[in-house]
């Protein structure tokens, strides 16, 4: 089957993109500047990311939708505000993560942003859990663009009036030409920024305006180094169907109220893991040498016993050193514990460290 091209494919080509197949899409891994320059440009100016491969699911409100969604997601949807976004998970009965996602309450229902590789399966899982009682639309006529970095707010405000008033994890509709487009203040790079959901036929002109106003296109390569510096998980690598939110050190995303009320898949396991701890847990790791410990690198303790495995590893262009995340036996998860990473047959010293590697700069505060 041929890979799907996003509505920005021609623009990517014009910008010198190198393409790779990703989750059934033909996506830019980098442009002519290369990953390190693109990464640094995002941290110092503003980068544009085509994330149109991600799923944009709308579930239309009708009776008891909130109650029924709370039977799926471990967040407090009774008290979510209009246009507020929350990070959450779709879990199975054992609290294994089907997908991580962003859910936003909008007028007339909920928007859920899903990972590209998971979206079709998520759709079926959610539909089944909702007993097929609600209208669900997985939009294909909409593109999704992120603009990230310290200049993102100025550049977007020059392009479209209004979004600078948004706070982190909040959204709204904004007038653009003859239509309204939905923009949230969010992203996955550790920078301030916005995600823009816009009709396919309008996206190229819109992105060109962002470029004219000073932003640059950034590929998946730099998206990966940016999110890893920010300590954020990549589905299919740092989290998957065999890891739980507690093991992934993401229990902050589970509502305290919902831990008590329960009713979502995996509730019992999540509760027992929070109470008595987990066997393994996700941690940040910094190698002491200039070596890169990539996914599947084995982690050893000082007694030469395997205690875990790396799930993401790269060279962090902003922190200027190798960085990694992985799972270790919980007894080795304290900050500064000395561990060893086996790279190309040799064991290199490393330390468990705090996440993120790079300080996040979100524009917070209640709306």
């Amino acid at each position: 089957m041929e890979n799907i091209k996003t509505a920005l494919y021609n623009l990517h080509q014009k910008q010198g993109a190198k393409f790779v197949p990703f989750a059934g899409y033909e996506m830019p891994i980098q442009y002519s500047d290369g990953i390190i320059e693109e990464h640094k440009f995002t941290r110092s100016q503003a980068g544009i990311f085509d994330v149109s491969h991600m799923g944009q699911l709308f579930i239309k409100d009708r009776e008891k939708l909130v109650e029924n969604l709370e039977k799926i997601f471990p967040i407090d949807l009774q008290n979510i505000l209009l246009n507020q976004s929350k990070y959450s998970f779709l879990m199975n009965q054992e609290a294994g993560i089907h997908d991580d996602l962003i859910i936003t309450k909008v007028k007339g229902g909920f928007n859920i942003i899903l990972n590209a590789a998971c979206k079709n399966q998520d759709f079926e899982v959610i539909k089944k859990l909702l007993n097929n009682r609600y209208e669900m639309i997985l939009h294909t006529e909409l593109s999704l663009i992120a603009i990230q970095g310290p200049e993102a707010v100025n550049i977007i405000e020059k392009t479209i009036k209004g979004p600078s008033s948004l706070k982190f994890m909040n959204g709204n509709l904004f007038k653009y030409l003859d239509t309204d487009i939905y923009i949230t203040r969010s992203g996955y790079t550790g920078e301030d920024g916005f995600e823009i959901s816009i009709q396919n036929e309008k996206v190229e002109v819109f992105v060109q305006k962002l470029i004219d106003n000073g932003a640059k296109m950034i590929g998946l390569g730099a998206r990966d180094t940016l999110r890893l510096e920010a300590g954020l998980c990549l589905y299919g690598h740092d989290i998957n169907i065999k890891t739980t939110p507690v093991e992934a050190n993401l229990k902050w995303a589970i509502s305290k109220k919902r831990l008590i009320s329960g009713g979502f898949p995996g509730h019992e396991r999540v509760n027992s893991q929070i109470e008595s701890g987990t066997k393994k847990i996700r941690v940040g790791i910094t190698p002491e040498n200039r070596i890169i410990a990539r996914e599947k690198t084995k982690i050893y303790n000082e007694e030469n016993k395997v205690i875990g495995e790396i799930t993401s590893g790269t060279f962090g262009p902003s922190v200027q050193k190798p960085i990694a995340m992985g799972y270790v036996d919980s007894e080795f998860s304290n900050i500064d514990i000395k561990i060893f990473l086996e790279v190309r047959g040799k064991k290199y010293p490393a330390k468990v460290c705090k996440l993120p590697f790079y300080k996040k700069s979100y524009v917070k505060g209640a709306k």
Partner: protein
Amino acid sequence: MSEVKFSKEHEWIKMDGDTATIGITKHATEMLGDIVFVELPKKGSSVVKDGNAGVVESTKAASDIYTPVSGEIIENNQSIVDDPSMINADPENKAWFFKLKTKDKSEMDSLMNKEEYDKFAKESGN
């Protein structure tokens, strides 16, 4: 000025008497992307034609470096270890990897000249 030859693993090699200087081609650096780490063979170690002689890591992946000829390593380029971005900037000149004293110059015969390599690189597309 001696001729520069090229291997199918995208290394270049320049002979000067018995001494071969070896590095990776511009085409190789373009495929690898930004290089952030390099490991070179130790001075005094012996390497065998087509055998492993170091590693480069880019932001994307790790790749082995092979030596196109056999010999004893007489020098390695510490400046690229300290600043791996030099390899992207000037791969076929300043950013040489190592020098070795060759054992058998006839090993050079199977390597490609510039024209053959350019054609090979273009056709292999990888």
